[in-house]
Symmetry: C2
Subunit: 145 residues, 2 copies
DNA sequence: AAATAACATATGCATATACATATATTATTT
DNA sequence: AAATAATATATGTATATGCATATGTTATTT
């Protein structure tokens, strides 16, 4: 294959998404470090807090995360005492996941750290571009659903 | 913390990047499946092909990937016979990584599968928006460097 | 030249991710 | 009601990821 044939593949949507995501994840994880939360755990905890008594499958649908990954990731939060998991009354297959007081306190603790990282990105891009960026991320995900 | 306080955190740059990246990665991996390559391996192989005799550290710098991750990911390609790794003559600390004929054939085989996934995204967004999106991804990565 | 510093890569460990499949529970069919 | 299908979650396995640190090699200092 000629060099120029390969060259065009550098525009790969997935490769570029993954590269930027690696970099930004390191950045957020570094700033969140004093809280002991990683950005993945922070996002999970946030969504559990926003949707009280949510199930594994529903969390996966919201986060576009495989159910098996949700199962494993919430187990880390449970061990730390940040969430509770109980069997649902009307459907014993389902777990009902909710945040604990410790989990809520941890979110409060992590919030200013998250804001530090977040404002760096938003100010770096500018509000309008940042807004467009979020919209495009959602649209890209939508295209493949 | 009040509900509205939490609500604003849904705009998290990292959370949104990771969510979309999970989804797009599944999409590309699915279409690449007949080749046996995953998108991460495809991206690595592509960059090794584009930069002959590259080192672990240089690959990491290009892909914004930790050196230890590069070390492990290229080992998978080596086992498959897609790349060679030799000690550099002038600096025995460095590995010199290059693509094999089998690796080049595998890239040729994967290219139309990749194009199928890629065109879906580009056509879904439209050329101009896609171009802007790539630019913004690079800018976002740049902000935290 | 020996000691030390700097650099490149590798290894131990923990988390993140998803596919294939198993298990348990509820819903539907016969 | 028993059999079957559908659904929700869990487990086995493999890849992806990065931090802390170890190892081996080259460069610099004394």
């Amino acid at each position: 294959m000629s060099r120029s044939d390969l060259y065009g593949m550098r525009r790969c949507a997935c490769g570029n998404l993954r590269r930027t995501t690696r970099s930004i994840t390191q950045f957020y994880d570094q700033l969140l470090q004093p809280s002991g939360l990683r950005i993945t755990q922070f996002s999970l905890l946030l969504n559990i807090s926003l949707h009280g008594n949510i199930s594994v499958g529903e969390l996966g649908a919201i986060l576009l995360m495989d159910q098996t990954t949700v199962t494993r990731n919430i187990e880390i939060l449970r061990k730390q005492g940040y969430i509770n998991m109980t069997k649902e009354d009307d459907d014993a297959r389902k777990k009902s996941i909710s945040i604990t007081e410790n989990g809520a306190r941890k979110l409060v603790e992590a919030k200013p750290l998250w804001e530090q990282a977040q404002s760096r990105i938003e100010q770096g891009l500018g509000s309008e571009r940042y807004h467009d960026f979020l919209k495009t991320l959602k649209d890209v995900a939508q295209i493949v659903q």
